[in-house]
């Protein structure tokens, strides 16, 4: 079980500071939700932690089990146990889900160690059954022509297969109808219920997702910082009062 510590993190895109001193610790197996209006730096936070090259970390640190990940390449971070569920997963024509996931699993083996193909498919099919994904899915190209719901289910399938220590889920609820949302949430909850569940950082714009994936902690983000933290009732309060409340009540505290 692993812990993620984000310490006084500053992130810029080009010359523009987006995240301005963010602190957050996710203890083993905990689910934290970050909520906030658009443009406040939520997605930037997730992508920068995963190592996206467009985002520059200008200060602070991100520690996974006490080790800084900032000097690592994105693939090293992933093998160290970080997982980013994308808001907009890339479409990769011509690369089947089976081959893609196989490469990802193979990358985690020691050098020279061969993947046990039978065991791999057995595990893949079990996870797919859990997520109610048709087996024909594996021969389709990654996210190519997928509906919004299929893309998000594909992200959860990858998360289930790769068994990360810490998952950053970026607006996993966006673009989903209620049925798709329920299936995706059930998938996440089954991962939470397994032995050694990952810590999860849920980034969301709406409270709706939190009805299905109940967080241990809720944080409100505004202008690159966390301005208020609480339990799941904070999400309901935010839902009732709207983001204008954040702007008027909470923003001045950080000004």
């Amino acid at each position: 079980m692993s812990q993620l510590e984000i310490k006084d993190l500053h992130i810029s895109i080009g010359d523009k500071p987006i995240v301005k001193g963010l602190n957050l610790t996710i203890k083993p197996g905990q689910v934290h939700a970050i909520m906030g209006p658009n443009g406040t730096g939520k997605s930037t936070l997730a992508k920068a932690i995963a190592g996206h090259p467009d985002y520059a970390i200008t200060g602070g640190d991100v520690l996974l089990d006490g080790q800084s990940v900032l000097a690592m390449e994105p693939d090293e971070r992933a093998r160290a146990g970080l997982f980013l569920a994308f808001q907009y997963p890339s479409e990769i024509p011509g690369v089947s889900i089976a081959n893609f996931l196989r490469a990802a699993v193979q990358a985690r083996l020691a050098e020279g160690e061969e993947l046990d193909a039978t065991g791999y498919y057995k595990r893949l099919y079990a996870k797919m059954d859990l997520l109610k994904i048709d087996r024909k899915f594996t021969s389709r190209a990654v996210n190519d022509g997928f509906s919004g719901g299929e893309k998000k289910r594909c992200e959860i399938l990858q998360m289930a297969m790769l068994e990360p220590k810490m998952a950053l889920m970026d607006e996993t609820d966006s673009g989903l109808d209620i049925d798709a949302l329920r299936i995706v949430a059930e998938g996440v909850n089954s991962i939470r219920a397994a032995a050694n569940p990952p810590g999860i950082l849920l980034i969301t714009h709406y409270q709706r997702l939190l009805d299905y994936i109940v967080p241990d902690h809720v944080h409100v983000m505004w202008d690159g910082r966390i301005v208020k933290s609480g339990d799941k009732s904070l999400a309901l309060e935010l839902e009732a009062k709207g983001y204008d409340w954040v702007k008027q009540e909470l923003a001045p505290a950080t000004a």
Binding site: A50, G51, H52, P53, E73, P74, D75, R77, A78, R79, F83, L84, F86, P89, S90, E91, I92, P93, G94, V95, N99, F100, L101, A103, A104, A107, R108, A141, Q158, L162
Partner: protein
């Protein structure tokens, strides 16, 4: 290994002197006089034709300074057991193995296929036993894409090759494989595969071109300097379905020429796929002639260009009859300082109304130092046609690359996956699973070196 430090003046015959030609003729003296006469005439054409001048549009962007004919030889025979041969991988399929222009091993077709009248034999035997068929189809199309000198050299020095004849209405259930090896320093080889698919027949032929060469002392990855001028004639009669695969994997120091000429008759369907992996400089000229209504030709190519390799591809789709279609898709992946040239032309004759022709060259740039050149072209004399062409060059999509890497896949492996994804549009057209796997394997090996 001989290294040329300063470019020599373009010699007209280089190593392919009159003495070398006479030595070749002495080895094939048992073949029919008409054929030897053609070889003599071809040698005269070769010797009289200058090296391509820089002003020749058919050589635009090509590196002419490295087109030297010096330092090659007609190689001595090698034994089959000296070759690092890999099988076709299709159980029961017939194959012929040539090394240094001679047959060194073969597996005939099984008896039932032979009973159906399919002929799978050497060109020499075909010249002796089926002279009229060979005469009608062997090198029957004139060179039109700029390499007349090298095409003449091929015809002059052609010693042996494969002959595949499928009679009317017969389906060859298994593909046949033809392997061509070049062995030894300076080896010059002239492989040829002639495919005749008669009315309503069906056949798949796979050509493999490989060097059996010692690693170069200067760079172990490059191998020996060799010379290959290969040709393929593919004739598809009325309603025939012919599939032709060519996998070019010569040593990285080889100078290679490869000529494909396809004739598709009424309602014939031809698919050809050229995989280009080997050679230092490889020129490929592919010509499809849609000569009767309903004919269709798919012209596909995949190239993995590494190091300082140059792949020079020239294509011609000629529509001579109404309601014919052709579809060309050439995909190149370029790494390092590699260079590719694609120059394609669609010609539609005045009578060829309702022609549907497509031509596309797509380049995936994996290095800032690589260079892809595209020269698509149309020449349309009919007024009721649909012809489109296009060329694109793009880098790997950074978001796709990040997506793969964010799953723990290392950068090199991510690149390989994206290249295979890029190639899949072409690879996916190969229905035969073993051949599909073999193509994939050659591409994968190229990424390991």
């Amino acid at each position: 290994m001989a290294q040329i430090s300063t470019p020599a003046p373009a010699s007209v015959v280089g190593s392919f002197t009159r003495e070398a030609f006479d030595a070749h003729l002495a080895r094939v003296a048992h073949l029919p006089p008409w054929w030897l006469e053609r070889q003599r005439a071809a040698y005269a054409r070769f010797a009289a034709t200058p090296m391509p001048p820089r002003t020749n549009e058919g050589w635009r962007f090509s590196n002419l300074s490295t087109l030297t004919l010096e330092g090659f030889n007609l190689p001595a025979p090698v034994r089959f057991d000296q070759l690092a041969h890999r099988e076709l991988g299709v159980t029961g399929a017939g194959h012929l193995v040539f090394a240094n222009n001679r047959l060194v091993a073969s597996q005939p077709l099984d008896a039932s296929t032979a009973d159906a009248g399919i002929i799978f034999d050497t060109l020499q035997n075909a010249l002796l036993k089926h002279g009229d068929l060979v005469k009608a189809h062997l090198l029957a199309q004139p060179s039109k894409l700029g390499s007349d000198k090298f095409a003449a050299l091929h015809e002059a020095f052609l010693e042996d090759g494969a002959f595949i004849y499928v009679p009317k209405g017969v389906t060859a259930t298994l593909p046949v494989g033809v392997f061509h090896y070049a062995s030894g320093p300076g080896a010059a080889v002239f492989p040829h595969t002639l495919v005749i698919a008669e009315e309503n027949s069906k056949v798949t032929v796979a050509d493999f071109f490989r060097s059996d060469s010692q690693p170069s002392t200067l760079n172990p990855q490059l191998g020996e300097r060799q010379f290959a001028v290969g040709g393929n004639d593919l004739y598809a009669g009325h309603g025939a379905q012919a599939t032709y695969l060519a996998m070019q994997d010569w040593s990285r120091e080889t100078l290679s020429f490869q000529f494909n000429a396809t004739v598709a008759r009424r309602d014939a369907k031809v698919l050809s796929l050229n995989l280009h992996a080997g050679a230092r400089q490889a020129r490929h000229e592919s010509f499809s002639q849609l000569s009767a209504p309903g004919a269709h030709s798919e012209m596909l190519a995949l190239t993995v260009a590494h190091g300082a390799q140059e792949f020079d591809q020239r294509t011609l789709q000629i529509h001579q009859a109404p309601n014919t279609s052709s579809n060309l898709l050439y995909k190149n992946a370029l790494l390092d300082q590699a260079k590719t040239i694609f120059s394609g032309l669609i010609v539609v004759d005045p009578d060829a109304q309702k022609t549907d022709a497509y031509q596309s060259n797509r380049n995936l740039m994996l290095s800032d130092e690589a260079e892809a050149n595209s020269l698509p072209g149309l020449e349309i004399q009919a007024n009721d046609v649909r012809c489109t062409h296009g060329a694109t060059s793009a880098r790997i999509d950074r978001e796709q690359e990040f997506y793969l890497e964010s799953r723990g896949i290392r950068a090199a492996q991510a690149q390989e996956l994206l290249v295979f994804g890029f190639f899949e549009e072409v690879l996916g057209r190969i229905e035969h699973q073993e051949l599909h796997d073999r193509l994939t394997e050659i591409i994968r090996e190229k990424f390991k070196t």
